[in-house]
């Protein structure tokens, strides 16, 4: 493992120089490397471990577990798709060589995070992943420069808390090794220490997966990053955060650690705290996503909400909830990746991300449309796509635990997701095609093939989820979360829940039948006639004799139905409190503090220098004499 990771890291630098000669070759090498890593994952044996090197007298350990396999597999699925996608897409970019280098570097580093056997290794790879991804972000739109900074700062906030906690652990147990630390934590008598460490470690995951207090970077970073890279950000990089959250809540025996702190339904209060954060993220993400006019920001907020689902699922520490949360990692990764790639395809052709400026692209880009359609079905959790199964599992757990408020929030998020995923669907693909896009073509095959492949995988896993549930079950067994319960029952085609079971095959068949009937009806009924938005006018933007409410219409664009699509609903929370403003205030505070320091100590005249010299002297004298 060590050699592979290091050589891929080294290769990434080589790729830069190769890409300088021809970025296409670089992109192909990237894709080949990605494919190799994908295959490599299957050759590794679970449980094997390797020493990467030594640092500060501690061994840097790489351990390959079921969790590593699962998360790496999901990551590689997304990254590989994007890498293939990028072979063509990169010609619309300004920095193809650097993109190739950092993408490959980030890939290796993320795998390193998943393989890490101790806290320090995880930190190192984590930082490399953050750094390399942070350097891709500003290649996007103009706003992306700021996005990269916000991303770096938020991420570092979490990471440094994590680092602090790691060293707290090290100074107490003399060990970074995850397995050992888990054991030590289980037997540690000091509750404040455990809670502190738990929350600090989780902070890294919270920052990375965009859970509530540190979620604001997602909107700006995902929304402004290079389009295809948003797929990696949202589909893969955010999952690093989920991985850390899984480590601290499930791998560390939290149930045992926090015995006596149970708050509600046998969930310890620290876990419950995370769960509450997850629930908050669902609300915030959903409501904010509905408001967005920029399709990428919309999906960015949906990532916040889905990160919340994952966290809620994992934090329940219930067999089915945990599996649901972990399965949701897979589902959301795929869905988000497809959606962002579909958007990237749209932007590749139309050069805009504003929903209200588009429409009717279904006629021009049907394959992209189909991919997007399937992805949002999965994202919104509608059968028969795989997205439904994970959400269903999370609901099952919440209901069984009797956590009705959280369950309600989860349902609410689900309904909200119908609203927000429909907005780009209607605004971008359906409706009227603006005249300026009448020459738009479908993207080349090299770009739609990865999308369609991911759609197919997501679809198949929706019908037959047992292959992907197998490693999840193994993970659950590793973490000893109700090991007696069996959820995936492949022989009976059942996913067993608490209040009932889910038979994806039957449901799929029913859907196929329903779809067949619907299609039949569609073909039988007379076809609708295509008319212009404002029927009698001849040229776009030049209405003749069109009026409504006693006035002529000069701006027909505003009468486009996807302008302010959910205005009625949005009005209900128009004056919502903004967390971003709070964070901005925090930034301002530090900035002002800097100004204060600058003005008081660094700017003034020699008199002030004399003053400070003497004052320091006097203070030292006063303290020490």
């Amino acid at each position: 493992m060590a050699i592979t990771l290091i050589s891929i890291l080294a290769l990434s630098v080589a790729v830069y120089f190769i890409s300088k000669l021809s970025w296409k070759v670089g992109a192909v090498i990237n894709a080949l490397a990605g494919a190799y890593l994908m295959i490599y994952l299957f050759t590794l044996k679970v449980g094997s471990s390797e020493v990467l090197g030594t640092l500060f007298g501690e061994k840097l350990l790489l351990t390959y577990t079921n969790a590593s396999f699962y998360f790496s597999f999901v990551s590689m699925l997304v990254i590989l798709a994007v890498m293939v996608f990028a072979i063509k897409w990169l010609d619309s970019q300004k920095y193809p060589s650097a993109f190739n280098m950092f993408l490959l570097m980030m890939t290796a580093a993320s795998l390193g995070v998943f393989f890490a056997g101790d806290l320090l290794t995880l930190y190192i790879f984590w930082e490399i992943a953050v750094l390399s991804s942070m350097l891709i972000v500003p290649m996007g739109k103009k706003e992306a420069r700021r996005a990269a900074i916000i991303y770096a700062v938020m991420s570092a906030t979490g990471t440094y808390m994590y680092l602090y906690a790691s060293f707290m652990i090290y100074s107490r147990y003399g060990n970074f090794n995850l397995a050992e630390v888990a054991k030590d934590l289980a037997n540690d008598p000091s509750m404040p220490f455990k809670v502190t460490v738990y929350l600090l470690l989780a902070a890294a995951g919270i920052a990375k997966s965009g859970i509530f207090p540190l979620h604001t970077w997602l909107r700006i970073a995902h929304g402004n990053a290079p389009d295809a890279f948003s797929a990696v950000l949202s589909g893969q990089l955010v999952k690093l955060g989920s991985y850390v959250l899984m480590l601290v809540t499930a791998f560390f025996p939290t149930l045992k650690m926090f015995q006596g702190l149970e708050l509600y339904s046998k969930i310890p209060s620290p876990n419950y705290f995370l769960l509450a954060l997850g629930a908050t993220s669902i609300i915030v993400g959903t409501l904010m996503a509905i408001k967005q006019d920029d399709m990428k920001m919309l999906i960015a907020f949906s990532s916040v909400a889905n990160g919340g689902y994952i966290l809620v699922g994992i934090a329940t520490m219930d067999a089915i909830g945990f599996e649901g949360g972990i399965l949701h990692v897979f589902n959301h990764a795929l869905a988000a990746a497809i959606i962002f790639m579909a958007f990237a395809s749209v932007v590749y052709r139309t050069h805009t991300t504003k929903i209200s400026e588009m429409g009717g692209l279904i006629h021009k880009m049907p394959i992209t449309f189909i991919s997007y359609l399937f992805a949002i079905i999965s994202l919104a959790g509608i059968p028969p796509m795989s997205g439904f199964i994970s959400k269903w599992m999370i609901y099952q757990a919440l209901v069984r635990k009797g956590m009705f408020v959280t369950a309600f929030i989860a349902f609410f998020g689900s309904i909200g997701s119908f609203l927000y995923v429909f907005r780009p669907l209607a605004g971008v693909f359906l409706g009227q095609l603006p005249k300026k896009y009448k020459d738009v073509k479908e993207v080349p095959a090299i770009m739609w093939i990865p999308m369609v492949t991911l759609v197919a995988i997501s679809f198949i896993m929706g019908v037959w989820p047992f292959p992907i549930l197998k490693p999840i079950e193994a993970m659950r067994a590793d973490f000893a979360i109700s090991p007696s319960v069996k959820i995936a029952d492949a022989s009976n085609w059942l996913v067993r829940g608490v209040t009932g079971s889910w038979n994806p095959v039957i449901v799929f068949n029913l859907f196929i039948i329903g779809f067949a009937i619907a299609y039949l009806l569609y073909t039988l009924f007379p076809k609708p006639k295509k008319v212009d938005l404002l029927a009698p006018h001849k040229e776009e933007g030049a209405p003749i004799n069109i009026y409504t409410g006693g006035e002529y219409i000069y701006t027909p664009d505003l009468y486009q139905y996807n302008t302010k699509m959910y205005a009625g609903f949005e009005r209900m929370y128009e004056k919502h409190p903004s967390w971003e403003k709070v964070l901005d205030m925090l930034c301002k505070f530090f900035h002002d503090l800097g100004q204060l320091v600058h003005g008081w100590f660094f700017r003034p005249s020699p008199s002030a220098y004399a003053f400070w010299t003497v004052m320091t002297l006097l203070i030292v004298f006063w303290v020490r004499w």
């Binding site: 700017r603 005249s605 020699p606 008199s607 004399a610 003053f611 003497v614």
Partner: protein
């Protein structure tokens, strides 16, 4: 006593640095502090009734209490020269400051933003 004088001189120098708005006066205040330190050093080497440490016909040999400590005097010699160097450098800088910022008064200097 001389200690006191030197320390009070230092205080005066610091007072000057704190209150004077004219840069040249501040430089002079710095020179006052320098001088005060020199006085302090000389005082640290004084022996009651001692003479300058030079052997002459009248004082041909080392008697206890006959000479003051010569080392501080040597140090002061060095310190004075250093003080002169600093003063000259500061004065030269002030010539240029005056040219560039039009004024030596801290509050009326032009172009000293940031």
């Amino acid at each position: 006593m001389v200690y006191w004088i030197s320390i009070i001189l230092m205080g005066i120098g610091i007072y000057g640095l704190l209150t004077q708005k004219n840069l040249f006066k501040q430089l002079i205040s710095l020179a006052i502090i320098d001088t005060a330190v020199n006085v302090f050093i000389i005082a640290a080497g004084y022996v009651e009734g001692g003479k300058a440490p030079i052997y002459t016909k009248a004082l041909p040999s080392f008697l206890k209490g006959a000479f003051v400590d010569p080392l501080p005097q040597a140090l002061v010699l060095t310190a004075i020269v250093i003080g002169v160097g600093v003063l000259a450098l500061g004065a030269a800088l002030l010539v240029r400051v005056k040219e560039k910022h039009k004024n030596l008064d801290v509050e009326n200097m032009k172009g000293v933003g940031e």
